[in-house]
């Protein structure tokens, strides 16, 4: 995972709240952090984007601070896949700089599968399973899908090709990135 991470200070600056607030949020499960081997919290870029999206993209406003201060309900681990997050631009993000985000289209799995127009029911079912895996990985290679499912290579290839053909994912150096958000 070569995801960009920020330290707590940078994250707090971007979100317009204090470091302590973020620490508290992490404790109650409102903030997903990556822990360094030394046990320090690092906030993935995706997480910042998600929080900003949740707060209606308002930055450093009183409302934002209030949203962050209120203790969120403890997140329950659900069986559903996490929604697909937008992946930021490749250029490194300087602290204090707001990344240009494109809010992805939100579609249900049924709508996405319909767009991909599978020829038969088994293929439809396979696409559905692969989509769930793809949404979980967000960015993936066809090899990763092959490892995580037991479907034949041909099916996976046609799945990936169709994602790109229908403008549902982008392809860069063999890595696919979903352009849509999966809603349940």
């Amino acid at each position: 995972m070569d995801e960009k991470v920020l330290n707590m200070k940078e994250a707090a600056k971007l979100l317009g709240c204090s470091v302590r607030t973020l620490q508290r949020q992490h404790q109650v499960g409102g903030l997903r952090c990556v822990l360094t081997p030394g046990g320090r919290r690092r906030v993935p870029e995706n997480e910042i984007l998600r929080l900003k999206e949740e707060m209606g993209l308002g930055l450093k406003t009183e409302a934002t601070k209030r949203t962050l201060r209120t203790r969120p309900k403890k997140r329950v681990i659900s069986r559903q896949e996490p929604p697909v997050m937008p992946v930021g631009k490749e250029e490194p993000m300087k602290s204090g700089q707001i990344p240009a985000t494109t809010v992805p289209r939100a579609l249900s799995d049924f709508e996405i599968i319909e767009k991909m127009a599978p020829e038969s029911l088994p293929i439809r079912k396979a696409f559905n399973d692969l989509l769930a895996t793809a949404a979980m990985l967000e960015t993936f290679t066809s090899k990763q899908l092959l490892e995580r499912s037991n479907y034949p290579e041909q099916t996976i290839k046609s799945f990936c090709d169709r994602l790109v053909a229908k403008n549902l994912a982008s392809l860069e150096n063999d890595r696919y990135t979903l352009k849509v958000r999966l809603v349940r």
């Binding site: 069986r79 249900s108 799995d109 049924f110 599968i113 038969s120 029911l121 088994p122 293929i123 439809r124 079912k125 396979a126 696409f127 559905n128 995580r148 037991n150 479907y151 034949p152 099916t155």
Partner: protein, 287 residues
């Protein structure tokens, strides 16, 4: 046969992790005749039941069947031979309607409709689809749904042509569940009771698992004997014991042999005397 006395290089990941096999090549086909009968029942659109004691591999069998049916359907272009399996984990559903939704969602069809419309999709299945449908319901008897309702729903499904149902559950509970639903019980065509593995089957399973991490040479024959003795042929128990042996062997940089297995799975004198104290004691020790 003299073994080279080099310290084995153990991988970080536990090859005997307690999960249903994610790859079909790690699955051991026990009772192949009965599995064939199960597949026959599915392709005929009947009701089949899989039972067996805890940890015997019921869920693994279900997942394996689902994978196999899926791959067969994907490789054939004959739409009359295609079977679309839907795997549902019964214990996760609280209502009969959820089962209905689960089946429709599993097929990637539009589930945002009322229950009558959804049920109509299933009842008109043979008219609108040539493919067969197989609903594989894991832990069917453990679901929180109303037993009468669920039984009635399954009975209605069983009557639809081209829809097969595989129910899977612990024998006692399954019997109770079916006793409450005599119409459903009468429609069962095949009942498969999974039995314990033999030593060779157990060895095959553990070797296959070890192979995925390239450590199949690190386990001696004596270890297989001991694991078989400890687990009494129950795959889940064997994997657990093997997992413990793996941890110990990794720590000490040794290969897994009889002594390692024994030491890793040793139960203290008091634990043996009072088996019911075992969990409590270990919990107390953890704190």
């Amino acid at each position: 046969m003299s073994e080279v006395p080099t310290a084995p290089v153990w991988p970080n990941e536990d090859p005997f992790l307690l999960v249903a096999p994610t790859r079909p090549d790690t699955y051991v086909r026990v009772q192949p005749d009965e599995i064939a009968a199960l597949k026959q029942a599915i392709s005929n659109g009947r009701v089949a039941v899989v039972t067996g004691p805890l940890g015997i591999g019921k869920t693994s069998l279900c997942k394996y069947i689902v994978d196999e049916l899926m791959n067969e359907s994907l490789s054939t272009s004959d739409i009359f031979k295609q079977i679309v399996p839907v795997y549902l984990s019964g214990a996760a559903y609280r209502e009969t309607d959820d089962f209905l939704k689960g089946i429709i969602k599993g097929l990637a069809l539009d589930a945002n409709r009322d229950r009558v419309a959804l049920f109509n999709i299933l009842t008109s299945w043979p008219k609108e689809h040539t493919e067969k449908l197989a609903a594989v319901i894991d832990d069917a008897s453990e679901s929180g749904a109303n037993v009468d309702e669920l039984g009635e729903f399954l009975r209605a499904l069983a009557d639809v042509e081209n829809i097969a149902i595989v129910l899977n559950g612990e024998p006692k509970r399954m019997k109770k569940f079916l006793d409450l639903n005599p119409p459903l019980r009468d429609r069962i065509q095949t009942i498969i009771e999974l039995r314990q593995m033999t030593r060779d089957e157990l060895k095959e399973m553990l070797t296959k698992r070890a192979k995925t991490h390239g450590v199949e040479d690190y386990i001696s024959e004596g270890a297989f004997d001991e694991l078989y003795k400890l687990s009494k042929g129950v795959p889940r128990a064997a994997l657990k014991a093997a997992s413990r042996a793996f941890e110990l062997a990794k720590k000490e940089g040794k290969k897994i042999d009889r002594t390692i297995v024994k030491r890793a799975n040793r139960v203290s004198f008091w634990g043996r005397l009072f088996p019911f104290l075992r969990n409590k004691r270990s919990k107390l020790l953890q704190i």
